[in-house]
């Protein structure tokens, strides 16, 4: 494996971490919008207290991926920035508003009350952001971004406005909501009524995301030959695993096995991402930019890998500490 491949794998891992961790925070926002029934406020509180200590750390995976992308694959970064200017800008707006709204509401809750306009902004931007990130991903996967002699020649609407991209955008929202509901089933283990609320939500999200995924596959077969050949070529094994894992996750939710469900739903998100990655290998931005062609000079890649290695040594134990203090059932330190 070349240094460029290693860098690509690491970036894809950080994308996965962002999707599995940060995605759930967006999903939490979705359930904030759809909070309903007699335990409406309790549901919102559960979302807020689950996100509070971790969402900023989860969010940094995205920043890590962006900086890694422009360090290791500057041409891919600048081409993507131009081609996906519109969806990326909208997603960015969503990220800003979501984070600000959450902070304002979480830290100022007692001061402003639960029904401030920032609550609406929080929910709305939690839906908008994954949707547009999903459409942008679809634009890359379908090979709609055309680059000739280092210039982006496809238009600013290319790839992310197709029916397939819209389905993928919706799938991204549904998967985020599914993740959040499954995680919240674990977080609310000592409140069965509240847990039942999130179980019902997880079931809905499971069915919706499963349906959208199958619809997406169908559309890929009918309209997006590149995606179809990728998923049935290099990505076949992972695609099949995703198809098997989907019902497992559903079973875990149905039989109220929150811990199993949590792992299975996170695996589902990861499998979708890795089936896509394996499918388009060795391309970074198909059909023109391969990983090797977009890579920065070897000296940069090596230095980056060293920085990442050192950084991870500091980072991973810290992350483990964070999650142990806040996500363990009986915090030892309390």
């Amino acid at each position: 494996m070349s240094a460029a491949d290693a860098a690509a794998v690491l970036l894809w891992l950080s994308l996965t971490a962002y999707a599995v961790l940060g995605g759930a925070d967006f999903g939490g926002g979705v359930w904030d919008v759809f909070a309903s029934g007699p335990r409406k406020q309790a549901q919102r509180r559960a979302v807020a207290s689950a996100m509070g200590p971790v969402w900023e750390a989860n969010h940094v995976w995205l920043i890590f991926m962006i900086t890694g992308l422009f360090t290791c694959f500057p041409i891919a970064f600048s081409s993507l920035s131009i081609a996906l200017f519109i969806p990326a800008t909208i997603a960015l707006l969503g990220i800003v508003l979501r984070g600000a709204a959450f902070a304002f509401r979480a830290h100022g809750r007692e001061a402003v009350g639960p029904t401030s306009p920032w609550g609406i902004v929080f929910g709305g931007s939690s839906v908008v952001t994954p949707f547009f990130l999903g459409t942008a991903a679809a634009a890359v996967a379908t090979g709609a971004i055309r680059i000739t002699q280092g210039r982006v020649v496809s238009g600013f609407g290319a790839g992310w406005t197709t029916p397939f991209a819209i389905i993928i955008g919706l799938l991204a929202v549904a998967l985020c909501a599914y993740l959040a509901a499954a995680y919240l089933m674990v977080e609310t283990e000592d409140d069965p009524a509240l847990q039942a609320d999130f179980r019902a939500r997880a079931l809905v999200a499971s069915v919706v995301s499963g349906g959208l995924a199958l619809l997406g596959l169908g559309l890929a077969y009918a309209q997006e030959p590149r995606v179809w050949t990728d998923l049935t070529g290099n990505g076949l094994l992972l695609t099949l695993l995703a198809l098997i894992n989907g019902p497992v996750a559903l079973w875990g939710v149905w039989r109220l096995r929150p811990r199993l469900a949590r792992v299975a739903v996170a695996a589902q998100m990861s499998l979708v991402l890795w089936a896509w990655a394996a499918g388009q290998w060795p391309y970074l931005v198909p059909p023109e930019l391969t990983i090797a062609a977009a890579a920065a000079p070897a000296s940069t890649l090596r230095a980056w890998l060293v920085v990442v290695g050192v950084g991870m040594v500091l980072l991973l134990p810290s992350l483990v500490l964070l999650f142990r203090v806040f996500k363990a059932r009986n915090p030892a330190a309390a």
């Binding site: 962006i66 131009i82 800003v96 600000a100 920032w118």
Partner: protein
């Protein structure tokens, strides 16, 4: 991008400075078993929680905007200067993790553990500032790569990160961050004192803020002086614009204030100190200082913006130094908190003044580098995106920043009012 940066930089510096204040206060509290210091740290931490979240999102905007607005710059520079950005990512990551522990861990961690969780926040805050400014330093004095026919031939990202401007610029920025935080915090408590609140909480807050500001402003002066001398050698066009010097001069005077006039090739309405500039730049009254006229017209920065920003920075910076000096002289002489209303008003003004000083300094380095985005290599125009609708994006983001700033201010005010209502009448309300 400029708007986003100008907005972000305020949060960034508070993100660097506040954790240090917070952990210092908590440390003093633990050391002396004094609950008021700990309560102070706790209040700062809840305000910082909001500030950090806004800083985090505005920082994300920046990392996206690098590509969205400047794809030409990033395609060229990404591989050279991406490294400090990636390192900054890690520093920021650690800051977010330990801040999560610190903010939400007041009741979950033992006191000393909690204090220890604060230290990495302060450290990684400082480290991220250094890393980011490394990248900016590279834009001023690009190095660590070779070009063949205008294309990158080889890259040495480590020497790019440690380019010639790095030492002066990063240290100057870091101490400035402490200056701003110190004065802003002091201003908040001075405001409270003007309203008659002289309890321990306010006195401790003001003292600690002024301690940080006092130490840092001295360092800022020293590093600022070094920086200016460095610019004289490395970026003569910027230096000329800073001083509003048009003609190349031996034994150049320094211009205090005034408005540089391109048509008359001199600074109007300025106070001139003969030989001042040559002495400052090279410690030699007869040193030659290159003037703006010696650069081709399309390579000159705008002297009006740069000169006025530079004088604003130096002028306000000096004023802030004097303010700190007067405050500490009065405090040490009487051994108690000065209650002079004029001084308190000055301290209140010192907060915004420190922010303006820092923004002015940033204007100097950015506008002074124009028309280049990477000095001598890439022009700003060539680096911008071809995407349409930039004006709309600009307006939307500016509007959002205004809304964020307004909400933030309102929330911080509510937060402090709530804290006050909750607080039991503090012991020792009279000094």
């Amino acid at each position: 991008m400029g708007t986003s940066l100008g907005f972000h930089i305020v949060f960034a510096v508070l993100g660097v400075g506040l954790p240090l204040l917070m952990t210092t206060a908590e440390g003093i509290g633990l050391w002396r078993h004094d609950a008021t210091w700990i309560a102070l740290a706790r209040r700062w931490s809840s305000a910082f929680g909001i500030l950090f979240a806004i800083g985090a999102v505005s920082g994300t905007v920046l990392s996206f905007e690098l590509g969205l607005l400047w794809p030409g710059f990033m395609a060229f520079s990404g591989s050279i200067i991406g490294l400090p950005f990636s390192a900054e990512g890690f520093a920021f990551f650690l800051e977010a993790i330990f801040l999560g522990l610190y903010l939400y861990g007041w009741d979950r961690l033992r006191p000393v553990q909690h204090w220890l969780a604060g230290l990495p926040v302060a450290l990684s805050g400082a480290a991220s500032a250094v890393f980011v400014v490394m990248a900016n330093a590279w834009m001023n004095t690009p190095s660590g790569f070779t070009l063949t026919n205008g294309r990158l031939a080889s890259v040495d990202p480590v020497s790019a990160a440690f380019n010639a401007s790095t030492p002066t610029e990063t240290i100057h920025m870091l101490v400035s961050a402490y200056v701003v935080t110190g004065f802003v915090v002091a201003a908040v408590y001075a405001m409270g004192m003007l309203r008659g609140r002289f309890d321990l909480h306010h006195r401790h807050g003001l003292l600690l803020g002024m301690a940080m500001a006092g130490i840092a402003i001295v360092l800022a002066g020293i590093t600022g002086d070094t920086s200016a001398r460095f610019v004289y050698g490395a970026q003569p066009a910027k230096f000329a614009a800073m001083e509003g010097l048009y003609a190349t001069t031996r034994g150049a005077p320094i211009h205090l204030g005034g408005i540089p006039s391109d048509s008359e090739h001199r600074v109007l309405y300025a106070i001139e100190i003969p030989y001042g500039l040559s002495i400052l730049a090279a410690l030699d009254p007869n040193a030659v200082v290159r003037g703006l006229d010696s650069f081709p017209p399309d390579q000159r920065p705008n002297p009006i913006v740069v000169h006025l920003s530079f004088d604003t920075m130096v002028g306000l910076g000096t004023g802030l130094g004097l303010l700190a000096l007067v405050f500490w002289a009065m405090f040490l002489r009487s051994r108690r908190m000065p209650r002079n209303r004029l001084l308190l008003w000055c301290l209140v003004a010192g907060g915004p003044a420190a922010v303006v000083t820092m923004e002015a300094g940033w204007f100097v380095t950015e506008f002074g580098r124009q028309p280049w985005v990477v000095y001598g290599i890439i022009r700003t125009v060539a680096a911008a995106t071809p995407a349409p609708g930039l004006a709309i994006v600009f307006i939307v983001f500016s509007a959002i920043y205004v809304a964020l700033a307004a909400t933030l201010a309102r929330l911080l005010l509510l937060l402090s009012r709530r804290n006050r209502e909750r607080a039991v009448p503090a012991p020792g309300t009279e000094a």
